[in-house]
Amino acid sequence: MITSGTERALNYLILIVFAAFALAPIVTVLAAALSPQSAAAAPGILGLHPENFVDAWTEGEFSRYLRTSLLVSVTVVSVAVVASILSGFAFGTMRFAGSRALFYLFLLGIMVPTEAIVVPLFYDLRDLGLTNTLWAVALPQIAQSIAFGTYWMRAYFRTSPPSLIEAATLDGASPRRVLWSILVPIGRPAVMTLTVLAFMWTWNEFLIPLVMSPNGEFRTAPLALAIFKGQHVQATALLAAAAVLVALPVVILYLFAQRSFIRGMLEGAVRE
């Protein structure tokens, strides 16, 4: 398409202004994280202060909280992904009574906000003595990820060629073999997308770990950051460094897998 020079210049201007709007707060945090902790601080390396990350790491006990986050995320993602593959396989390739109603139930589950379940979850799990355990923090998030994961994997299994399944079955492969030796390997992109999305949701979740671990035993990194904020109102450099530490794992994953991130979130949203 032919566009005039001014129009093109204007387009780039808009592109840059918009990208700057998206980046400005991120750059602000990065700059703050590398700035001196106090006016009396030593000059630092090239005027920058990477030691803030070390200080935030030790003072905020982030090694502990990042480990908790990792434990919770790995638990949620592995259980949710396997359960979603199994249920998506059933919905996508098999006919059975009640499949429509059950699938709509899962679809409904995608829309349920965390606020709607967190109150009884806390009181019921407290009565069972499960609050302040890994399971209180992980199980509700597993259920939420399964709602989306079932929908997501069903969509993939429905598009897998029936002839492939047919042929393998004729060769004597059991459904289990068809699933794990044929469909899952060729469906790796779909499984990967689900994995990174579920990881991001779990890593960033705030309300569930806040409520389900009142004594802080299973405090995840985002929560630790919120508490760190309360304790370091004045120390913006340390707080910013801590924020970078909490965001980093997901940002790195995003930069590596941004295609499947964006596609997954948009397709999941559009539900086509």
């Binding site: 398409m1 566009t3 129009e7 093109r8 387009n11 808009i14 592109l15 918009f18 990208a19 998206a22 707060p25 991120i26 945090v29 259980v79 359960a83 199994l86 249920s87 919905f91 098999m94 059975f96 059950l102 139930l105 589950g109 829309m111 906000p113 606020e115 709607a116 967190v118 109150v119 009884p120 019921d124 199980l139 509700p140 259920a143 399964i146 709602a147 994961g149 079932t150 079955t169 459904p175 991001m200 960033n204 705030f206 309300l207 409520v211 009142p214 985002p222 950051l225 919120a226 904020k229 910013a240 801590a242 924020a243 909490v246 940002v251 995003y254 941004q258 964006i262 948009l266 559009v270």
Partner: protein
């Protein structure tokens, strides 16, 4: 599969169904049950029927909270949609370089934890933070204020954070939708002498009706569910000037011992989200005819 045993599908479904049923559907039903009682979380509970729901309309703080949610919808949803439509339409007209990089950058706010976002924006809004410094630099000292401590300005300030988070998502969603429109359609319109504005209203806008509907649901739901942003930036204050329904759920259930009231707010919020989704799905299906 021909030799499939009858119980086999249910066997594959069992783990998902048990976890999903036990930790999502069951607590949802329990929320409805809780909402019909008055309970402080410890002692005996008392059945009060729909009193907690009546409270949604009579309690001043709750009315304010739902009002604030409406204001947030403007910032989380309407503003990003307008910005996204303009930017996506312009970018879609011209093949510019670096669109992939642009997409990656504007989508980035979506992947950050809300706490991180809140920490970043608190520094921008701080009394000697980025925003006030910028205003002073251009001589607008009169406009500087404590953005997160002002009865009038704190809610819009929180709203702008939502605009920042959602605009990239909306833009990328709309760009994807516009990319599906055959280019010949635009070229034909130009041959007919249509300008950029006519082209936008005649072709671009109708073609992304479905994407607009999806963008609106996602962002409205995000506005209604806002909890961590408020919890970390303002704690609902100053006074009750930035409290929202999701924050009231937390506050009442775990701080004030009004568990039934909290459950009723949560159920109402869920019902609103369901209705929104149904409406939007209708609109999006209408697109396919």
């Amino acid at each position: 599969m021909r030799h499939q045993r009858r119980y086999l599908p249910y066997l594959y479904l069992a783990p998902a169904l048990l976890l999903f049923g036990g930790f999502l559907i069951y607590p949802l039903i329990r929320s409805v049950q809780f909402s019909l009682f008055e309970w402080d979380g410890l002692g005996a509970s008392e059945f009060v029927g729909f009193d907690n729901y009546v409270e949604l309309f009579t309690d001043e703080v709750l009315r304010a909270a739902f009002g604030h949610a409406l204001v947030l919808i403007l910032f989380f949803s309407v503003l990003p949609l307008v910005l996204g439509l303009v930017v996506a339409a312009i970018l879609n007209r011209a093949q510019v370089r670096g669109l992939g990089l642009f997409r990656t950058v504007v989508f980035l706010p979506q992947v950050l934890a809300m706490v991180v976002v809140a920490v970043a924006w608190r520094q921008i809004y701080a009394p000697d933070g980025g925003l006030n410094t910028a205003l002073r630099a251009v001589g607008l000292d009169a406009l500087t204020r404590t953005w997160l401590g002002d009865y009038t300005w704190t809610l819009p300030a929180v709203g702008i954070v939502g605009t920042w988070v959602q605009t990239g998502l909306v833009t990328v969603l709309l760009l994807a939708g516009m990319g599906r429109v055959p280019r010949e359609l635009f070229e034909a319109a130009r041959l007919d002498g249509a300008g950029a504005i006519r082209e936008f209203f005649a072709i671009t806008l109708p073609s992304v009706r479905g994407e607009i509907a999806v963008a609106l649901t996602l962002t409205i739901v995000a506005a209604l569910k806002t909890f961590d942003l408020v919890y970390v930036t303002t704690g609902g204050g100053p006074g009750n000037s930035t409290t929202v329904p999701a924050y009231e759920v937390f506050q009442r259930a775990f701080r004030e011992g009004a568990v039934g009231s909290a459950a009723a707010i949560a159920v109402a919020l869920t019902a609103i989200i369901f209705v929104l989704n149904v409406i939007v799905n209708r609109i999006a299906e209408g697109r396919q005819g």
